[in-house]
């Protein structure tokens, strides 16, 4: 068990390290001059060279990589190329919470929604709730996030979008988890505002996981509902609710966890599009803008952050999986 954990964690770190080095090096092979982002319509050759030297871009690649890793170890990702004086680490502190809140809310919508429709579909198997739920699930995976976001914005045009909180609120929070922080400090009217703003993007982001969860719940419920012990339970007079809640649902937990793990990558990908459409100030839109403007300092820092988030959430899910399914513990040890 501990050995497995150790190997798994080491593996995660190595994955991240390799990924970051790859990104770092491949960026340096990209055509085009990276410091130009600053010069715009007024480039001056001597100044461009001075700027390259200042950023250390003129040194051999291996020296640059070494410097980057050294600074990384100290928790410093450097300054943005495009916006002078902007520390990338500070920016990530603002951006990552936005993405985490969005992903969290999307899952908060997706999990209950998916489970409820899945259970309903399984219980009324081959009757209209089943068809309705499965049709919805199909539409959920087929409508692209960007089109859905666009539709939502136009249908619910009285819902606020484009910001995490109303524009007139001066953002003086302690952390950048506006929603979590205001719930925890008991500022419920603020939390309400934050929820209102996160609603549409979270909804757009939640459809694909919701659809996946719904389908997986349905199929594992179908398997379980026909099992012997459930027939026994029902014969003993357990209500439907008790059967589903107490017996069938826990069994569906493992495949759901499995699909969630698979979905996290998709959620982060979806976040790039969702954040861009809804102007959500998270990691996805930050990185997208940086790639567009070739602000490579941000690209390498941001990519590192996303890879870390992805690898560690997968690690976390692996652990959950291990905790949920005792059989695995035995298998992994042997």
């Amino acid at each position: 068990m501990w050995r497995f954990l150790f190997i798994r964690i080491t593996q995660s770190f190595v994955t991240i390290l390799v990924a970051v080095c790859l990104i770092f090096l491949s960026i340096r092979f990209l055509p085009g001059n990276p410091v130009l982002v600053r010069f715009g319509q007024h480039p001056v050759p001597a100044k461009i060279e001075a700027e390259m030297a200042k950023q250390g871009w003129d040194k051999p690649m291996i020296v640059q990589l070494g410097k980057f890793l050294k600074e990384l170890a100290q928790g410093d990702l450097g300054d943005s190329f495009e916006r002078p004086g902007e520390r990338i680490t500070d920016q990530l502190k603002e951006r990552v919470p936005a993405t985490i809140e969005l992903t969290f809310c999307a899952l908060l919508l997706a999990i209950p929604l998916g489970i409820l429709t899945g259970v309903a579909a399984a219980f009324w198997h081959t009757r209209w709730p089943d068809y309705a739920a499965m049709t919805l699930a199909l539409i959920g995976v087929s409508v692209p996030v960007f089109f859905l976001g666009f539709l939502l914005m136009n249908i619910f045009s009285n819902m606020p979008t484009g910001q995490r909180l109303p524009a007139w609120i001066v953002l003086d929070f302690k952390t950048d988890f506006y929603l979590f922080e205001s719930i925890l400090t008991g500022n419920f009217s603020m939390a309400g505002l934050a929820l209102k703003h996160i609603c549409l993007p979270a909804l757009a982001l939640s459809t694909i996981p919701a659809a996946m969860i719904s389908r997986i719940t349905r199929s594992s419920m179908l398997e379980v509902l026909s099992a012997d012990y459930l027939r026994t339970a029902r014969a003993k007079g357990a209500t439907f609710f008790r059967v589903v809640w107490g017996h069938a649902l826990p069994n569906a937990a493992i495949p759901i966890t499995n699909i969630l793990g698979y979905q996290i990558g998709m959620l982060l990908t979806g976040a790039v599009l969702t954040e861009t459409i809804f102007s959500w100030p998270g990691m996805g839109s930050y990185l997208f803008a940086a790639i567009e403007q070739r602000d490579y300092a941000i690209v390498q820092g941001g990519a590192l952050m996303i890879a870390t988030m992805f690898v560690f959430s997968n690690l976390l899910l692996d652990l959950c999986y291990l905790w949920l399914d005792p059989r695995l513990r035995v298998e992994e040890i042997s």
Partner: protein
């Protein structure tokens, strides 16, 4: 079976709690009301965020919008016109040879951090721009250095008098002093914050910087001690929202007071709402297509004329600007004093275009169809509000008369960089005036001095020695009428040689809530918010 029961025990509680929490959170959302919005805060919605707020080190429009509210300059534009009026300087005088300018400064003005404003501060500010190794210029990017390189030195005479010495007489010097890079910065603050001054700006302006979260909000507060008096609004919040569709919705819902940089057709629709007011002014800009004369067959006048005749610019204005632009014939916009209104346009005439190409094929051995790359920027600009629509229209038009066009899209900065290197054949470009002077259009965009691989803005690589002499003469000519004659001649020769196809001069339009009054769009497109007032 045993395994199953084990599992059930573990999971039951957790799943139940989780589900209940989810349901609780959902119900909670629906039940919440919102606290009332403060009434005296102006919210400005725009398409992007500032990059830095140090006036010396930026040329990004979104930064400038903030900078002009935090800082003052020695001279400024009148509230409504382009006339220059005193600001931090009370008065100024020129020596007879035009080389020495003496400014008499306003007394008793203080920067937001309490530092007194004086001649030293002025010298400090200008020296940061013009001295190559100034100890307090922390950034290599000084976009507007060329505008100020004609300044020899800046000397404080006494506490409230400062003297500028120029290398040669300059007709544009005083206009340059009204431009934002000459905003006077607090020397103390620059020395304290160093390169982070760009995120902690301190000036003397009507608003002081409060805080800035990139891509979320930038907050300014009223400066109680401003020498013009305190602004009416308590706060100004700039919020960046990239999607223009979202900005439209926010304005409709009243979440923001002003939305700028909207697509023209959306502004027309907003104008129909009773709560919305549209402001419009003729912009000092030109959107044009450059034809790189170093790349054959574009060195051939017949080909360039054929391109000119092939494009119906009136229709282009309908398609890409919803009719809100003026057809351009000269590069100098009609709002400017040296605009040449007498040029006879090369009318839209595809047949003529085909004839010219046939002639070029006969005489110069040009092969038809002519394959050309057309460069286009990915992001909209005030002079090119819908680059995608524009480029598609031009491609379709040119392919009808015998061209074969390949579109090359790039991020705006890469786009301009590649074009200054001369990589393009055709390219969409444009210019918004830095200062209201024809020199800023003709010399900057078409003089042979500005051809080089490192940032000359003569993208067409147009070489005209004769015109060069006129433009240089006009630079140091102080008599406006004589200058005008020189610029008119220059415009004629540009029209004759057709190194560029001027497309449009656009109007600058913003949409605002009716609650907001007192803010007027300025012809220089400067966003000065000090008179704005909000009446709920």
């Amino acid at each position: 079976m045993r395994y199953y029961f084990q599992l059930r025990k573990q999971l039951n509680m957790q799943i139940r709690i989780l589900t209940l929490c989810c349901l609780g959170a959902m119900l909670f959302t629906l039940g919440c009301g919102s606290p009332p919005a403060p009434t005296n805060t102006l919210i400005y919605g725009r398409g992007g965020d500032a990059d830095g707020l140090d006036p010396t080190h930026t040329d990004i429009g979104e930064s400038v919008k903030v900078i002009v509210n935090i800082f003052d300059k020695l001279v400024d534009y009148d509230e409504e016109t382009l006339d220059l009026v005193p600001s931090l300087a009370l008065s100024w005088e020129t020596s007879d040879d035009g080389l020495v300018w003496t400014f008499d400064l306003r007394e008793g003005v203080k920067f937001h951090d309490g530092t007194p404003f004086n001649a030293e501060a002025v010298a400090f500010t200008i020296n940061r721009i013009i001295q190559p190794d100034h100890p307090h210029a922390y950034d290599n990017v000084i976009p507007f250095y060329p505008n100020y390189e004609g300044i020899e030195s800046v000397t404080p005479i006494d506490e409230h008098t400062v003297q500028f010495k120029l290398k040669h007489p300059s007709a544009t010097f005083i206009s340059n002093m009204a431009m934002f890079p000459a905003s006077i910065v607090s020397p103390t603050a620059v020395k304290i914050h160093k390169e982070h001054f760009a995120r902690n700006p301190v000036g003397t302006g009507p608003f002081k910087f409060e805080h800035w979260k990139t891509d979320q909000q930038l907050v300014l507060a009223a400066n109680d001690n401003h020498w013009r008096g305190r602004p009416t609004v308590d706060r100004v919040i700039f919020i960046p929202v990239k999607e223009s569709a979202v900005r439209v919705k926010q304005l409709e819902r009243g979440e923001i007071h002003i939305a700028d940089n909207l697509p023209p057709s959306e502004v027309d629709e907003l104008a129909k709402l009773p709560t919305i007011k549209i402001q419009e002014t003729e912009g000092m800009n030109v959107g044009y297509m450059t034809m790189n004369m170093d790349k054959p067959p574009l060195d051939n006048l017949l080909v360039r004329e054929a391109i000119w005749h092939a494009i119906d610019r009136d229709r282009l204005i309908d398609v890409a600007y919803s009719g809100h632009a003026t057809k351009a014939v000269s590069m100098v916009p009609p709002t400017m004093w040296a605009h040449h209104s007498g040029l006879a346009d090369r009318e839209f005439d595809p047949e003529k275009s085909k004839q010219l190409l046939a002639e070029a094929e006969r005489n110069a051995g040009v092969k038809l169809p002519i394959k050309l790359q057309l460069f286009v920027m990915a992001q909209p600009r005030p002079y090119m509000q819908r680059p995608r629509q524009t480029v598609v229209f031009i491609k379709d038009s040119l392919e009808r008369v015998g061209f074969d066009i390949e579109i090359v899209t790039n991020d705006i900065r890469q786009h301009f960089f590649r074009m200054t290197q001369g990589e393009h054949q055709l390219g969409l470009a444009g210019w918004s005036a830095d200062i209201p002077d024809p020199d800023n259009f003709l010399y900057t965009l078409l003089d042979l001095d500005n051809i080089n691989d490192d940032g000359g803005n003569n993208l067409s690589r147009y070489r005209n020695e004769e015109m060069h002499d006129w433009l240089i003469a006009a630079k140091s000519e102080l008599d406006v009428e004589k200058r005008k004659q020189l610029y008119l001649k220059a415009q004629e020769s540009i029209f004759r040689d057709a190194p560029v196809l001027p497309l449009v001069h656009t109007k600058v339009r913003i949409a605002q809530r009716k609650e907001l009054s007192g803010y007027k769009l300025h012809p220089s497109s400067m966003v000065r918010l000090r008179h704005s007032k909000i009446t709920p």
